[in-house]
Amino acid sequence: MKVTIDGQSIEVEPGTTILQAARMIGGEVVPPAMCYYSKLEGSGGKCRCCLVDVTKGSEADPRPMPKLVASCVTGCQDGMEIASKASPRVQEARKSVTEFLLINHPLDCPVCDQAGECDLQNLSFEHGKSETRFIETKRTFEPEDIGPNIQLHMNRCILCQRCVQVADQLTDKRVHGVMDRGDHANISTCISKAIDNEMSGNMIDVCPVGALTDKTFRFKSRVWFSKPYNAHRDCDKCCGKTTVWMFGNEIQRVTGRKDEYHEVDEFICNTCRFDKKEVNDWTIEGPRTFEKTSVINRNKYALHVPKVEIKTEDHILIGREEDRKKISMIDVPLENAENSKQ
C-alpha cells in the first residue's frame, strides 16, 4: 500500500496506522503524540495531539475526509494522501489541543523533575501560545502517597492513561486506574494501595508529563545536569539494559533507554530502577546521545577530540630522499638516515 504524507510517499503493510507510517518517514511530518505508545497495546486516541488532515481517502474513494482524524488510531489505505505539518488546519488544531491540555496543567516546570524531557513541554514549545486565555482556577487534587518509589502529582496529569495500560499489560494485578468522571477524573490506586509490582516503575518512563516521577530522584538534580550513560547488568527479571544518569561517581537515577519519540526500547524492573544505585552494579557502555535540540545536551562535551598528527614530516623525508637521488649523491649516505625516517 502506498501512502503519501506531506508529499513524501512510502510503501506500508496493510494495518499500519498513519502515525506509524509517518514515523517510518521520520522528520518533520511525524505528528506529536502524548497518549500513543507503540509498546503498549490499545494506547492512543485520547489526547488528539496527532490530528492530521486526510486530503484523499484512498485510490478507490478519493474524497477527502471531512474532519481531521487522529493519526494514531486511523489505518492507512492504498493511495491515501495526508497533510500533516503542511496543513494550516492541522497546525491550528494542534495549537488548540495544546491550549486545552495546558488548561489544567500547572506551570511549575521550575519545580517539576520531568522538565527537560517532558513531552508536553516540547509540544507547547512547538505549538503553544505564549499567553493564556484561561482565567478560572485550575483543577487541583489532594496530594496522595502511592508508595516509596513513585511520586504521583495528580495536578500535572493529562489523563493519557499510558500508566493504566502499563499496569494492565506488564503487571498481573492492576491496582490503579482512572477514578471518577469528567473534570474530576483522576489516576489513583484503589483504596490508596501501594503499587508494589515488580514492573510498576515503568509508569514513570511512559508518563509524558511529570505526574509520575521517581521518588528516589525527587529534587536531586535537573535532567540536564546529570550525565546519561548506557549501562547494563545481568538481571533475571528484565533485560537489564538501561540508561544511568550520573553525577560524578554517583548514580542519581536509572531509566529505560528512550528513543527519539521518548518511548523506552525495553521495559525494566524495579530492582534495576530503584535499588541498584552503585556504580559496581552496572557495566557502563558509553554516553547516551539525544536529539540535537534536547536540553540534556547542554554543558556536555562528549565530542570526539581527534588526535593531532603532523603528517608533513613524512612528506618532507620523501622529498629529501627524492632530491638526494636526483642530485646523484647516492654514494653519500644521509646523516643519521635511520633516525630521520621515523
Binding site: 511549575d108 516546570c109 521550575p110 519545580v111 522538565a115 525527587r218 529534587f219 536531586k220 538534580s221 535537573r222 540536564w224 545536569f225 536540553v295 547542554r298 554543558n299
Partner: protein, 179 residues
C-alpha cells in the same frame, strides 16, 4: 593640490631638519611652554577619586554582585530550577535542591528550594544571562549595588547563600514600601 600638502585631519605639520637658532637651542621658551601646560592641569577637575572613602554612583543598569531576591513576604524566590546554571556561559553557578519541610512555608516560596547555591566570582563574567534565564525573578545583578570585593584566597571567591541572599532588613523595607 598634491597629496603631500593636503591634511585630512588638519593637524599635519611639516617636519624639517633646519638648524635651530641660538635662542631656540637654549630651550627656555619650550620649557616654559611645557610648564604652562602642567600648571594648567593643576586647576582642572580631577578625573580620579579616592576610592574606598569616595564611591562613584552606579548606573541603574550596572551589573555587580548577584542577589537572590526575596518576595514581599520575605520568602526566597529561588526554586533551584537550574536555568541560570545552564544559561551561564562561564559555568560559574552550582546548586543543590532540597524539599521544603512543613513549617518552612514562610522561608521559601515554592515546595523546592536551593539548599546550596554557589557562584564562583572568579569565573563569573557578569553578563547577566542568569538574570534573563530566571523564571522566578530570583537572581538580579543590579539590585545589590555592590562590586565583588578582592580577596587573597581563591576559596573566598566562591560566594554561597550567606552572601547572595537578600538581607532580611532589605526585604522588610521593601514590604513596608509596598504596603
Amino acid at each position: 593640490m598634491s597629496l603631500d600638502t593636503i591634511s585630512l585631519s588638519g593637524r599635519k605639520k611639516e617636519v624639517s631638519n633646519k638648524k635651530m637658532s641660538f635662542l631656540e637651542s637654549l630651550y627656555i621658551v619650550a620649557i616654559a611652554k611645557g610648564l604652562v601646560i602642567t600648571i594648567k592641569h593643576l586647576f582642572r577637575r580631577k578625573v580620579t577619586i579616592k576610592y574606598p572613602e569616595q564611591k562613584r554612583e552606579f548606573s541603574p543598569v550596572y551589573r555587580g554582585q548577584h542577589m537572590l531576591k526575596r518576595d514581599e513576604l520575605g520568602r526566597e524566590n529561588c526554586t533551584a530550577c537550574g536555568m541560570c546554571a545552564v544559561a551561564c556561559p562561564a559555568e560559574a553557578i552550582t546548586m543543590t535542591a532540597a524539599e521544603r519541610k512543613k513549617g518552612e512555608e514562610n522561608l521559601y516560596r515554592e515546595e523546592k528550594y536551593a539548599s546550596v547555591y554557589e557562584i564562583n566570582m572568579l569565573r563569573c563574567i557578569f553578563c547577566g544571562l542568569c538574570e534573563e534565564a530566571c523564571p522566578k525573578d530570583a537572581i538580579y545583578l543590579t539590585e545589590s549595588k555592590v562590586i565583588v570585593k578582592s580577596a587573597s584566597n581563591r576559596e573566598d571567591f566562591i560566594y554561597g547563600k550567606d552572601k547572595l541572599v537578600m538581607p532580611l532588613e532589605m526585604a522588610i523595607k521593601n514590604s513596608k514600601s509596598i504596603n
